[in-house]
Subunit: 500 residues, 2 copies
């Protein structure tokens, strides 16, 4: 049996190697590749993706997994091996259920849809994108049907990003969130607005970069096992636990963008850097889910990076770097400025109090289309209506409305809820941290993050993908994903800032 | 038959994709990778190399190639398809003849030998490296024996780098070269030395970089299909005809190093960028051989980059960038300085008049060991003796002698001659260029390289690996590889510089 486990791990190791090479091909495309390289890169990624798929879904893997079923039941259910077998089996059953003609058609449709979306957004012409989006929704419905019977057509789609999570649970969570966040937003709107104009002026790009590097170094991002580069859209990727890279984008006229994106991506990266090395080259060598991943990036970005204790430590340094811009801005003004609440059109620029509402707009529309309650052609109108209802603003055009996000053109339907769930989990974890490390804010005020990072490593990071998100959250916090802590957090924080 | 050719090309395309991904993994390791990444990168390269090998040497490829034999004879022998079948068959027969246990043993031995060499060089301790080198020579002999009968044990090794070339031919060429280069060197040594001290002072690194970029842009290196980065050792790599990258290394206190290495690598890169797109994703999408490749890099670096017409154009610009360093150095002094001849210990720093002699030292020693005329333990002494005979100097220690090059530790035996052969071919081609473009020097004097690059594209680049090196040289110049033009070139150039 030992021998066979070795055999399985050898195959999974090779699949990991191929997937890590694909990640590098993708990173390079976004960070370094000259424009000429695009055609060949497409071939390279397609060939390697196919190789990984063929190798992982081979009969040999299937046979080994079947043979292991009795063994798996004898193992300590929390051991690495038991979890490896379970997660591999889940993934194998999924991948083998999808016929390759569907995979190919999906790849082809999303590849042309991406260009169609880019053009449609440029020209503010949703109608030209609609036929592609219809095909994508149809393909996603076909995909979901491969996993019938299901409680909800959205379940199989969500499951790809949040293993084990059910749509009904998400809807229940979001329903509570929506009411209270919309209410909070109205209260904030009735108060005088805070000033953040000092953030919107020229800031030297190299100094922006350097400050971000200084901060995440203190937080614990390990540069011996990572690096930062520029890219059009910031992202984190890894080719191994010991090679986890981030990117950022610097806006010369807005200081907050690069800084918070660097901290956000470092949050993702420290998660990956903290995974147990015993899980290397297995399907467990990654985050538990996108939501859990987002809980880490959001915690560092928002709960820590936009907190007063954090800036009590770092603001003097920032002011030193930018005396002309911040010399007359005191700490309180700065703190309020970086936490300004303002309903806006673009999700990626949304603040903590409005962000989840953007996500809900998308989720509800996705579900309505999948349930055939809404036609793709009617999405723009439905979008605008929800924006009015939840955020109180109407997009002046579809480019800043329904066309703003890349995700649908790439077929990522089922993905958006993870952003909001990540916010919720981050505060659930934070409440536990406050119990376990009562002086954590004092530590942050001193620029010390070691105990905090160790807590996250111990409770979350080292486990990699061993536990499904709900199980992991339950283990650490004692409850499943729960909106109450996040709502408490918003009320306290913005109650103070806006004198509610 | 059409259908089967498509099938073969599909497999070869996938093999190319995998090999191109390996090239990226390697480029990234040398250019970007944080130190932590090294272990996983080893796995990734090993897995992908094995996948490419298994795919290429599959029975399916063998069967298709066999079925094509009759077809190949009906095709125009110079057509892409005929050459593709021929080159693929040659490579297939080679790769399938090597048992995988030898491949694995070779990889293991060279992997540890590399570290042993590094340590031995640092500590000037050849004896500690000798056992590894003995194993490597033994493995290379075993490899050669797989291709018995051969005319010379060195033939199968050379053939990996110079398809079709025979050791006897190389030895005949080198024998003529050696006598005359040693003689020329003695004459030069009897004349007053030229001054190049102005090159050896601080030169701003960014300006060094910018000047190199400016020059190779004018030469015709296409930045839309390439980029330049820093690395410890300059190299060129490509992931496609439309993504060919170079690296350089800037020495802050020596102006010539980065500049000539940039031009050298751009010479390699323009070759790869000039290959016909019809050959993309096939085994023909590369240079004809290492020597032909080197003929391109050396032509741009030396025949053009160290010529007087070239600097008549570029020297005013260089002086403008570095007035403090070059303000008092006139063109003639500069030209002589960058062409200074001086027997030196280190091959990679050798000038045009001594370089080939370094190569001969290595080739003769390699052959002597393979023929069992020399024992590995006696290499240092034999090395020093040859250095005295050919270059008139004795290495003070083995680190600057027999231990200086990385190649043997990596098992690259059969590789060194390609450097010298590249020099010879470059001048053979240059003599043809002077006939076909009589005013080429006037064009260079005006900073125009278009007609020259087009000539190279037409005669050499576009063919990729369709022709073996001797065949290609014969087609273009009317003779095989021949030392006479190079010797004429050296005599003329250094006759003028040293008033011989």
């Amino acid at each position: 049996m030992e021998e066979k486990l070795k055999q399985l791990k050898a195959i999974l190791g090779e699949v990991s190697d191929i997937n890590n090479a694909i990640a590098l091909l993708d990173w390079d495309q976004q960070v370094n590749m000259p424009p000429g390289g695009v055609e060949a890169r497409g071939y390279q990624i397609a060939t390697l993706s196919n190789l990984a798929h063929v190798k992982f879904t081979s009969d040999e893997v299937g046979k080994l997994l079947d043979e292991f079923q009795p063994l798996a039941e004898q193992l300590d259910p929390d051991s690495d091996d038991a979890r490896l077998l379970r997660v591999t089996k889940r993934e194998y059953d999924k991948q083998t259920r999808v016929p390759s003609e569907l995979v190919i058609e999906f790849a082809q449709v999303t590849s042309v849809a991406h260009n169609a979306w880019q053009e449609a957004r440029e020209k503010n012409d949703f109608a030209s994108f609609a036929p592609y989006l219809e095909k994508i929704f149809a393909l996603r419905r076909r995909y979901a049907d491969l996993f019938a019977p299901y409680d909800h057509v959205y379940d199989p789609l969500l499951d790809d990003f949040e293993p084990g999570l059910k749509t009904a649970d998400v809807l229940a969570i979001f329903s509570e969130l929506r009411t209270q966040q919309v209410e909070l937003l109205k209260e904030i709107a009735s108060r005088p607005q805070v000033d953040d104009s000092f953030l919107r002026q020229p800031y030297d790009e190299q100094k922006q970069w350097d400050f971000g590097v200084e901060v995440i170094s203190k937080m614990g991002y390990d540069w011996k096992r990572g690096r930062q580069d520029h890219s059009a859209h910031p992202f984190t990727t890894n080719f191994d636990i010991d090679d986890v890279r981030i990117t950022t984008r610097i806006l010369p006229d807005y200081a907050a963008s690069a800084f918070f994106s660097t901290v956000h991506e470092a949050g993702h990266a420290m998660y990956e850097q903290g995974i147990s090395k015993a899980l290397r080259r297995t399907p467990l060598a990654g985050g538990a889910s996108l939501a859990v991943h987002e809980s880490q990036s959001r915690m560092w970005e928002n709960l820590i990076g936009r907190s007063l204790p954090f800036w009590e430590h770092f603001y003097p340094r920032l002011r030193e770097l930018f005396p002309a811009q911040l010399g007359n801005v005191d700490l309180q003004t700065f703190y309020k400025g970086i936490n300004k609440v303002e309903p806006s059109l673009i999700r990626t620029e949304a603040d903590e109090a409005t962000y989840n509402l953007h996500v809900m707009v998308r989720l509800e529309l996705e579900i309505a289309v999948l349930e055939n309650r809404l036609q793709v052609k009617d999405l723009p109108e439905a979008w605008n209506e929800k924006m009015r209802d939840y955020l109180g603003i109407t997009p002046p055009n579809d480019s800043e409305g329904v066309l703003q996000d890349v995700h649908w053109s790439g077929g990522s339907i089922g993905y958006f809820p993870t952003y909001a769930l990540g916010n919720l989990i981050s505060v659930q974890l934070w409440e536990c941290i406050l119990q376990d490390i009562p002086d954590v804010n004092a530590q942050i005020r001193r620029g010390e993050f070691g105990e905090l990072l160790n807590w996250l490593r111990e409770k979350i990071h080292r486990h990699g993908a061993k536990f499904e998100p709900q199980e992991l959250v339950q283990r650490v916090t004692g409850t499943k994903i729960d909106p109450a802590p996040y709502l408490r957090y918003l009320r306290t924080k913005y109650g103070e800032i806006y004198n509610l």
